[in-house]
């Protein structure tokens, strides 16, 4: 995780001030070699990939448990909003095909069902629920996957995402992106709480 020191800002600020004072000698900016022009490109891409993975996880859960759709769809839509705010290009690409620029991005495109988290409660079973043919058979071992467990798994993914956004916020230079990442962390913190509450309610049925 690259950390940007306050020092770097002072250096940057100094360069800008100098440029402003002596426009004639202002150094021409380096030719915009595409990735280097956005110092936050990596974190932007990683965050976009993570949002895509979350959207895919919601899609998987809704496919497996259509009765959760009315609850889950609004949350999934909020991740679409996150994605659009963080990386508009990825957001438009998500609808069509593979952005395929980063490996986490391409991982997100697959039918990602099992969260990276250790949990072990969340592998969708294709054996018990073969009925919906579209449910991706991501797991090989088939522990029964209940709606409550699906909600818990999503809650865990949201918590992990929230932590990632907070960490990313420490690493980006652009203030506007830092603000968005902070708000996305807050949103995902909310999601984790509601999903946990829903999971407990499901489990109590």
């Amino acid at each position: 995780m690259p950390r940007v020191e306050r020092r770097d800002f002072l250096v940057l600020g100094g360069a800008l001030a100098l440029g402003a004072c002596t426009p004639a000698t202002r150094p021409t900016p380096p030719p915009p070699s595409e990735p280097a022009s956005d110092p936050d490109a990596d974190l932007r891409a990683a965050t976009a990939a993570s949002e895509l993975a979350l959207i895919a996880a919601y899609r998987t859960a809704i496919t497996a448990f259509p009765e959760l759709g009315s609850q889950l769809r609004p949350l999934a839509a909020q991740h679409e909003s996150h994605l659009a705010a963080i990386d508009p290009a990825a957001a438009s690409g998500a609808a069509s095909a593979a952005p395929g620029t980063s490996s986490p991005g391409s991982a997100a495109l697959g039918p990602v069902a099992s969260p990276a988290s250790s949990g072990g409660t969340s592998t969708p079973s294709s054996e018990d629920r073969v009925a919906e043919g579209s449910a991706p058979a991501a797991g090989d071992g088939p522990p029964a996957w209940t709606a409550a467990q699906a909600l818990t798994a999503l809650a865990e993914e949201e918590s992990a995402a929230q932590q990632q956004r907070a960490t990313a916020c420490d690493g980006v230079q652009e203030a506007a992106l830092a603000r968005v990442l902070c708000l996305v962390a807050a949103s995902e913190g909310q999601h984790a709480v509601v999903l946990t509450a829903w999971s407990e309610r499901e489990a109590g049925r």
């Binding site: 708000l183 949103s187 709480v193």
Partner: protein, 139 residues
């Protein structure tokens, strides 16, 4: 230098938000009963602690911390438990966005406390009945 100035602005805004939250928690507690009232009073303490920490940060930057307003205008009619909850949801959503502004105004290495406070405010808002939001307090 300029970064410090915008960070100071963000800190003052967050302090003003915590002043408002202290008022709102007290106001709402008067409308609530039982566990909800206990929770509101606990949050009142948390907002006071946050307020005091922000004051210290502002003083450390050599500035005068903003004062609480002598009176606050209720954003809507606060009546009964539902009104108290709604007030706390409203104030905490606003606080989530205010802390996001502070995070943006802070140097990267100094952002984390504001990010944590923003998420905490958003989760408190949820607990008082706010709906989950893509950008809490800012959409």
């Amino acid at each position: 230098m300029r970064a410090a100035a915008s960070e100071l602005t963000g800190l003052q805004a967050a302090l003003a938000g915590e002043h408002a939250a202290v008022w709102a928690a007290g106001r709402a507690a008067g409308e609530l009963r039982g566990n909800a009232r206990t929770r509101a009073l606990r949050q009142l303490d948390e907002h006071r602690q946050a307020r005091d920490a922000l004051r210290r940060s502002i003083v450390a930057l050599g500035a005068d911390p903003v004062q609480a307003a002598p009176a606050y205008v209720e954003p809507f009619r606060v009546e009964g438990a539902a009104g108290g909850r709604r007030l706390l949801a409203h104030v905490n959503e606003a606080l989530a966005a205010t802390y996001a502004d502070l995070a943006a105004a802070s140097a990267p290495a100094a952002r984390r406390p504001a990010v944590t406070a923003s998420t905490a405010a958003a989760v408190r808002a949820l607990g008082w009945g706010a709906a989950p939001s893509a950008f809490p307090g800012a959409d």
